[in-house]
Protein backbone atom coordinates (compact mmCIF):
# COMPACT_ATOMS: atom_id res chain seq x y z
CA UNK A 1 0.00 0.00 0.00
CA UNK A 2 1.23 3.48 -0.76
CA UNK A 3 2.09 6.01 1.90
CA UNK A 4 -0.35 8.55 0.46
CA UNK A 5 -3.09 9.86 2.71
CA UNK A 6 -6.73 9.06 2.01
CA UNK A 7 -7.44 12.50 0.55
CA UNK A 8 -4.24 12.54 -1.52
CA UNK A 9 -4.94 9.16 -3.13
CA UNK A 10 -8.53 10.19 -3.88
CA UNK A 11 -7.33 13.37 -5.60
CA UNK A 12 -4.71 11.43 -7.55
CA UNK A 13 -7.32 9.02 -8.95
CA UNK A 14 -9.44 11.85 -10.33
CA UNK A 15 -6.35 13.54 -11.75
CA UNK A 16 -5.41 10.34 -13.64
CA UNK A 17 -9.04 10.10 -14.83
CA UNK A 18 -8.69 13.64 -16.21
CA UNK A 19 -5.42 12.77 -17.98
CA UNK A 20 -6.93 9.64 -19.60
CA UNK A 21 -10.01 11.56 -20.74
CA UNK A 22 -7.89 14.39 -22.15
CA UNK A 23 -5.59 12.02 -24.06
CA UNK A 24 -8.63 10.24 -25.54
CA UNK A 25 -10.12 13.58 -26.64
CA UNK A 26 -6.80 14.57 -28.26
CA UNK A 27 -6.69 11.22 -30.14
CA UNK A 28 -10.26 11.53 -31.41
CA UNK A 29 -9.74 15.18 -32.37
CA UNK A 30 -6.55 14.35 -34.29
CA UNK A 31 -8.28 11.47 -36.11
CA UNK A 32 -11.27 13.62 -37.06
CA UNK A 33 -9.16 16.60 -38.18
CA UNK A 34 -7.20 14.27 -40.43
CA UNK A 35 -10.41 12.71 -41.80
CA UNK A 36 -12.19 16.01 -42.47
CA UNK A 37 -9.42 18.31 -43.68
CA UNK A 38 -6.42 16.33 -44.88
CA UNK A 39 -7.66 12.90 -45.91
CA UNK A 40 -5.26 12.66 -48.83
CA UNK A 41 -2.10 13.15 -46.76
CA UNK A 42 -0.36 10.05 -45.36
CA UNK A 43 -1.27 8.95 -41.86
CA UNK A 44 2.25 7.91 -40.77
CA UNK A 45 2.91 10.85 -38.45
CA UNK A 46 -0.57 10.56 -36.93
CA UNK A 47 -0.12 6.82 -36.28
CA UNK A 48 3.17 7.46 -34.45
CA UNK A 49 1.33 10.04 -32.32
CA UNK A 50 -1.43 7.49 -31.56
CA UNK A 51 1.13 4.87 -30.50
CA UNK A 52 2.84 7.32 -28.13
CA UNK A 53 -0.46 8.54 -26.63
CA UNK A 54 -1.73 4.96 -26.15
CA UNK A 55 1.53 3.99 -24.43
CA UNK A 56 0.99 7.00 -22.13
CA UNK A 57 -2.53 5.81 -21.29
CA UNK A 58 -1.21 2.28 -20.63
CA UNK A 59 1.45 3.77 -18.32
CA UNK A 60 -1.12 5.65 -16.23
CA UNK A 61 -3.52 2.69 -16.01
CA UNK A 62 -0.77 0.27 -14.93
CA UNK A 63 1.15 2.58 -12.60
CA UNK A 64 -1.74 4.31 -10.82
CA UNK A 65 -4.91 2.23 -11.27
CA UNK A 66 -3.18 -1.15 -11.03
CA UNK A 67 -0.89 0.27 -8.37
CA UNK A 68 2.27 -1.07 -10.02
CA UNK A 69 4.21 2.13 -9.29
CA UNK A 70 3.98 1.40 -5.56
CA UNK A 71 5.12 -2.25 -5.74
CA UNK A 72 8.69 -3.47 -5.13
CA UNK A 73 11.07 -3.20 -8.06
CA UNK A 74 11.60 -6.98 -8.61
CA UNK A 75 7.82 -7.36 -8.82
CA UNK A 76 7.55 -4.57 -11.39
CA UNK A 77 10.35 -6.10 -13.49
CA UNK A 78 8.86 -9.61 -13.41
CA UNK A 79 5.53 -8.20 -14.63
CA UNK A 80 6.94 -5.95 -17.36
CA UNK A 81 9.89 -7.99 -18.68
CA UNK A 82 7.78 -10.57 -20.62
CA UNK A 83 6.28 -7.72 -22.68
CA UNK A 84 9.67 -7.16 -24.34
CA UNK A 85 8.82 -10.21 -26.49
CA UNK A 86 5.88 -8.28 -27.88
CA UNK A 87 8.18 -5.66 -29.45
CA UNK A 88 9.76 -8.46 -31.48
CA UNK A 89 6.31 -9.90 -32.22
CA UNK A 90 4.90 -6.66 -33.60
CA UNK A 91 7.94 -5.89 -35.79
CA UNK A 92 8.32 -9.47 -37.09
CA UNK A 93 4.67 -9.96 -38.02
CA UNK A 94 4.14 -6.53 -39.60
CA UNK A 95 7.25 -7.23 -41.68
CA UNK A 96 5.82 -10.63 -42.63
CA UNK A 97 2.50 -9.03 -43.60
CA UNK A 98 4.23 -6.53 -45.89
CA UNK A 99 6.17 -9.33 -47.56
CA UNK A 100 2.94 -11.25 -48.02
CA UNK A 101 1.39 -8.20 -49.74
CA UNK A 102 4.36 -7.80 -52.08
CA UNK A 103 4.13 -11.52 -52.99
CA UNK A 104 0.41 -11.16 -53.74
CA UNK A 105 1.14 -8.12 -55.91
CA UNK A 106 4.00 -9.90 -57.66
CA UNK A 107 1.84 -12.89 -58.59
CA UNK A 108 -1.13 -10.59 -59.23
CA UNK A 109 -3.53 -12.52 -56.98
CA UNK A 110 -5.09 -9.52 -55.19
CA UNK A 111 -8.37 -9.64 -57.09
Amino acid sequence: MSTLSREESKKRVWRVCGILALVTIVEIAAALIHYNYMEDSPKTFLNILFIILSAGKAYYIMSEFMHLKYELKPMVISVLAPFLFLIWGVIAFLWEGKYWLSMKQFWDVLN
Binding site: M1, R6, S9, K10, V13, W14, V16, C17, L20, A21, T24, I25, E27, I28, A31, L32, Y35, K43, N47, F50, I51, S54, K57, A58, I61, M62, E64, F65, M66, E71, L72, P74, M75, S78, V79, P82, F83, L86, G89, V90, F93, L94, E96, G97, K98, W100, L101, K104, L110, N111
Partner: protein
Protein backbone atom coordinates in the same frame (compact mmCIF):
# COMPACT_ATOMS: atom_id res chain seq x y z
CA UNK B 1 31.85 -12.98 6.45
CA UNK B 2 29.72 -10.37 4.83
CA UNK B 3 29.03 -12.64 1.86
CA UNK B 4 27.94 -15.40 4.21
CA UNK B 5 25.52 -13.04 5.94
CA UNK B 6 23.94 -11.87 2.70
CA UNK B 7 23.52 -15.48 1.42
CA UNK B 8 21.70 -16.39 4.62
CA UNK B 9 19.42 -13.39 4.23
CA UNK B 10 18.68 -14.19 0.62
CA UNK B 11 18.06 -17.83 1.52
CA UNK B 12 15.70 -16.82 4.29
CA UNK B 13 13.85 -14.45 2.01
CA UNK B 14 13.22 -17.12 -0.65
CA UNK B 15 12.87 -20.20 1.58
CA UNK B 16 9.18 -19.84 2.22
CA UNK B 17 7.02 -18.23 4.84
CA UNK B 18 7.76 -14.80 3.44
CA UNK B 19 6.69 -12.82 0.34
CA UNK B 20 9.79 -11.48 -1.42
CA UNK B 21 7.60 -9.22 -3.58
CA UNK B 22 5.51 -8.09 -0.60
CA UNK B 23 2.42 -8.98 -2.64
CA UNK B 24 -0.10 -11.55 -1.41
CA UNK B 25 -0.52 -14.92 -3.13
CA UNK B 26 -3.92 -14.07 -4.58
CA UNK B 27 -2.80 -10.76 -6.06
CA UNK B 28 0.35 -12.18 -7.59
CA UNK B 29 -1.63 -15.01 -9.19
CA UNK B 30 -4.03 -12.44 -10.65
CA UNK B 31 -1.00 -10.58 -12.06
CA UNK B 32 0.38 -13.77 -13.63
CA UNK B 33 -3.02 -14.59 -15.13
CA UNK B 34 -3.19 -11.07 -16.58
CA UNK B 35 0.30 -11.44 -18.09
CA UNK B 36 -0.81 -14.64 -19.86
CA UNK B 37 -4.05 -12.95 -20.95
CA UNK B 38 -2.00 -10.05 -22.32
CA UNK B 39 -0.24 -12.53 -24.58
CA UNK B 40 -3.56 -13.92 -25.79
CA UNK B 41 -4.77 -10.43 -26.71
CA UNK B 42 -1.37 -9.53 -28.13
CA UNK B 43 -1.52 -12.65 -30.32
CA UNK B 44 -4.90 -11.55 -31.68
CA UNK B 45 -3.84 -7.93 -32.21
CA UNK B 46 -0.55 -8.96 -33.85
CA UNK B 47 -2.46 -11.23 -36.26
CA UNK B 48 -4.66 -8.22 -36.99
CA UNK B 49 -1.52 -6.21 -37.79
CA UNK B 50 -0.06 -8.95 -39.99
CA UNK B 51 -3.29 -9.52 -41.95
CA UNK B 52 -3.91 -5.79 -42.30
CA UNK B 53 -0.44 -5.07 -43.63
CA UNK B 54 -0.91 -7.89 -46.17
CA UNK B 55 -3.92 -6.03 -47.67
CA UNK B 56 -3.85 -2.95 -49.89
CA UNK B 57 -4.22 0.37 -48.03
CA UNK B 58 -7.60 2.15 -48.05
CA UNK B 59 -8.62 3.13 -51.56
CA UNK B 60 -12.16 4.14 -52.59
CA UNK B 61 -11.83 2.46 -55.98
CA UNK B 62 -10.68 -0.94 -54.66
CA UNK B 63 -13.42 -2.94 -52.86
CA UNK B 64 -10.79 -5.32 -51.46
CA UNK B 65 -8.71 -2.61 -49.75
CA UNK B 66 -8.66 -2.05 -46.00
CA UNK B 67 -11.75 -0.06 -44.86
CA UNK B 68 -11.55 3.43 -43.35
CA UNK B 69 -12.73 3.32 -39.69
CA UNK B 70 -14.36 6.74 -40.16
CA UNK B 71 -16.69 5.15 -42.72
CA UNK B 72 -17.41 1.98 -40.76
CA UNK B 73 -17.95 3.42 -37.29
CA UNK B 74 -20.04 6.49 -38.01
CA UNK B 75 -23.36 5.80 -36.29
CA UNK B 76 -24.82 5.48 -32.81
CA UNK B 77 -28.28 4.93 -31.33
CA UNK B 78 -30.38 7.56 -33.11
CA UNK B 79 -27.67 9.30 -35.13
CA UNK B 80 -25.71 8.80 -38.37
CA UNK B 81 -22.77 10.40 -40.19
CA UNK B 82 -20.92 11.12 -36.95
CA UNK B 83 -17.61 9.24 -37.18
CA UNK B 84 -16.13 7.89 -33.92
CA UNK B 85 -18.69 9.64 -31.68
CA UNK B 86 -20.28 6.47 -30.30
CA UNK B 87 -16.94 4.74 -29.66
CA UNK B 88 -15.75 7.84 -27.77
CA UNK B 89 -18.76 7.43 -25.50
CA UNK B 90 -17.88 3.73 -25.00
CA UNK B 91 -14.26 4.59 -24.20
CA UNK B 92 -15.29 7.19 -21.62
CA UNK B 93 -17.69 4.71 -20.02
CA UNK B 94 -14.86 2.22 -19.57
CA UNK B 95 -12.42 4.85 -18.21
CA UNK B 96 -15.02 6.09 -15.72
CA UNK B 97 -15.87 2.57 -14.57
CA UNK B 98 -12.13 2.00 -14.02
CA UNK B 99 -12.00 5.12 -11.85
CA UNK B 100 -15.00 4.03 -9.77
CA UNK B 101 -13.28 0.65 -9.33
CA UNK B 102 -10.16 2.32 -7.89
CA UNK B 103 -12.40 4.25 -5.52
CA UNK B 104 -14.02 0.97 -4.39
CA UNK B 105 -10.55 -0.54 -3.74
CA UNK B 106 -9.53 2.56 -1.77
CA UNK B 107 -12.68 2.49 0.38
CA UNK B 108 -12.02 -1.23 0.95
CA UNK B 109 -8.67 -0.35 2.50
CA UNK B 110 -10.51 1.72 5.11
CA UNK B 111 -13.07 -1.07 5.68
CA UNK B 112 -15.83 1.29 4.54
CA UNK B 113 -18.55 -1.12 3.43
CA UNK B 114 -21.04 1.54 2.33
CA UNK B 115 -18.34 3.20 0.20
CA UNK B 116 -17.34 -0.09 -1.45
CA UNK B 117 -20.99 -0.86 -2.24
CA UNK B 118 -21.57 2.57 -3.78
CA UNK B 119 -18.49 2.54 -6.02
CA UNK B 120 -18.90 -1.14 -6.98
CA UNK B 121 -22.49 -0.42 -8.05
CA UNK B 122 -21.26 2.39 -10.32
CA UNK B 123 -18.51 0.12 -11.72
CA UNK B 124 -21.04 -2.62 -12.56
CA UNK B 125 -23.30 -0.02 -14.17
CA UNK B 126 -20.41 1.26 -16.33
CA UNK B 127 -19.56 -2.30 -17.42
CA UNK B 128 -23.18 -3.00 -18.33
CA UNK B 129 -23.47 0.22 -20.36
CA UNK B 130 -20.29 -0.73 -22.22
CA UNK B 131 -21.46 -4.28 -23.05
CA UNK B 132 -24.88 -3.02 -24.18
CA UNK B 133 -23.24 -0.33 -26.36
CA UNK B 134 -21.11 -3.00 -27.95
CA UNK B 135 -24.19 -5.15 -28.54
CA UNK B 136 -25.82 -2.19 -30.29
CA UNK B 137 -22.73 -1.61 -32.43
CA UNK B 138 -22.52 -5.27 -33.44
CA UNK B 139 -26.22 -5.35 -34.35
CA UNK B 140 -25.86 -2.17 -36.39
CA UNK B 141 -22.81 -3.46 -38.28
CA UNK B 142 -24.47 -6.84 -38.97
CA UNK B 143 -27.48 -4.96 -40.41
CA UNK B 144 -25.08 -3.00 -42.61
CA UNK B 145 -23.86 -6.34 -43.97
CA UNK B 146 -20.60 -6.75 -42.07
CA UNK B 147 -20.14 -10.35 -40.89
CA UNK B 148 -17.07 -12.57 -40.31
CA UNK B 149 -17.21 -13.54 -44.01
CA UNK B 150 -18.45 -10.39 -45.75
CA UNK B 151 -17.79 -6.68 -45.48
CA UNK B 152 -19.38 -3.96 -47.63
CA UNK B 153 -16.72 -1.45 -46.48
CA UNK B 154 -13.69 -3.34 -47.88
CA UNK B 155 -11.53 -6.35 -47.03
CA UNK B 156 -13.70 -9.05 -45.41
CA UNK B 157 -10.90 -9.94 -42.96
CA UNK B 158 -11.62 -6.58 -41.29
CA UNK B 159 -15.04 -7.89 -40.24
CA UNK B 160 -13.69 -11.27 -39.15
CA UNK B 161 -10.98 -9.67 -37.00
CA UNK B 162 -13.34 -7.01 -35.65
CA UNK B 163 -15.89 -9.54 -34.38
CA UNK B 164 -13.17 -11.87 -33.05
CA UNK B 165 -11.21 -9.25 -31.11
CA UNK B 166 -14.00 -6.98 -29.84
CA UNK B 167 -15.95 -10.15 -29.06
CA UNK B 168 -13.13 -11.55 -26.95
CA UNK B 169 -12.79 -8.18 -25.20
CA UNK B 170 -16.56 -7.94 -24.67
CA UNK B 171 -16.46 -11.47 -23.21
CA UNK B 172 -13.86 -10.23 -20.69
CA UNK B 173 -16.04 -7.23 -19.81
CA UNK B 174 -19.07 -9.51 -19.33
CA UNK B 175 -17.09 -11.85 -17.05
CA UNK B 176 -15.89 -8.78 -15.13
CA UNK B 177 -19.47 -7.55 -14.67
CA UNK B 178 -20.51 -10.99 -13.33
CA UNK B 179 -17.54 -11.21 -10.93
CA UNK B 180 -18.09 -7.63 -9.74
CA UNK B 181 -21.77 -8.38 -9.13
CA UNK B 182 -20.79 -11.44 -7.10
CA UNK B 183 -18.32 -9.32 -5.07
CA UNK B 184 -21.04 -6.69 -4.57
CA UNK B 185 -23.34 -9.32 -3.04
CA UNK B 186 -20.51 -10.68 -0.86
CA UNK B 187 -19.74 -7.15 0.33
CA UNK B 188 -23.42 -6.54 1.04
CA UNK B 189 -23.58 -9.74 3.09
CA UNK B 190 -20.56 -8.56 5.10
CA UNK B 191 -18.29 -11.47 4.07
CA UNK B 192 -15.22 -9.27 3.61
CA UNK B 193 -15.86 -7.40 6.87
CA UNK B 194 -15.87 -10.72 8.74
CA UNK B 195 -12.74 -11.79 6.85
CA UNK B 196 -11.03 -8.60 8.03
CA UNK B 197 -9.88 -7.36 4.59
CA UNK B 198 -11.20 -6.39 1.15
CA UNK B 199 -8.46 -8.06 -0.90
CA UNK B 200 -11.05 -9.66 -3.20
CA UNK B 201 -12.04 -6.18 -4.39
CA UNK B 202 -8.35 -5.43 -5.10
CA UNK B 203 -7.95 -8.58 -7.20
CA UNK B 204 -11.11 -7.84 -9.18
CA UNK B 205 -9.83 -4.27 -9.53
CA UNK B 206 -6.64 -5.55 -11.22
CA UNK B 207 -8.76 -7.59 -13.66
CA UNK B 208 -11.08 -4.67 -14.39
CA UNK B 209 -8.21 -2.24 -15.10
CA UNK B 210 -6.67 -4.85 -17.39
CA UNK B 211 -9.90 -4.91 -19.41
CA UNK B 212 -9.63 -1.11 -19.69
CA UNK B 213 -5.97 -1.41 -20.70
CA UNK B 214 -6.79 -3.89 -23.48
CA UNK B 215 -9.49 -1.54 -24.75
CA UNK B 216 -6.81 1.17 -25.21
CA UNK B 217 -5.14 -1.11 -27.77
CA UNK B 218 -8.32 -2.45 -29.39
CA UNK B 219 -9.40 1.17 -29.80
CA UNK B 220 -6.00 2.03 -31.28
CA UNK B 221 -6.03 -0.87 -33.74
CA UNK B 222 -9.62 -0.67 -35.02
CA UNK B 223 -10.79 2.90 -34.57
CA UNK B 224 -7.70 5.13 -34.80
CA UNK B 225 -5.22 3.52 -37.22
Amino acid sequence: MEAAVSTTNAKELWSGGDSPFKVSYGKIMMWYFLISDTFTFAGLLISYGAIRSSQPKHDETNPLSWPDPNHVFNAGPGFHHAPLVFVTFMTFTLILSSVTMVRAVQEGHYMNRAGVLKWMALTILGGLVFVLSQAWEWTHLIHEGMTPSSNPFGAYSFGALFFLITGFHGFHVSVGVLLNSWAFIQTYRGVFDRRGHYEMIEKLGLYWHFVDLVWVYVFLAFYLF
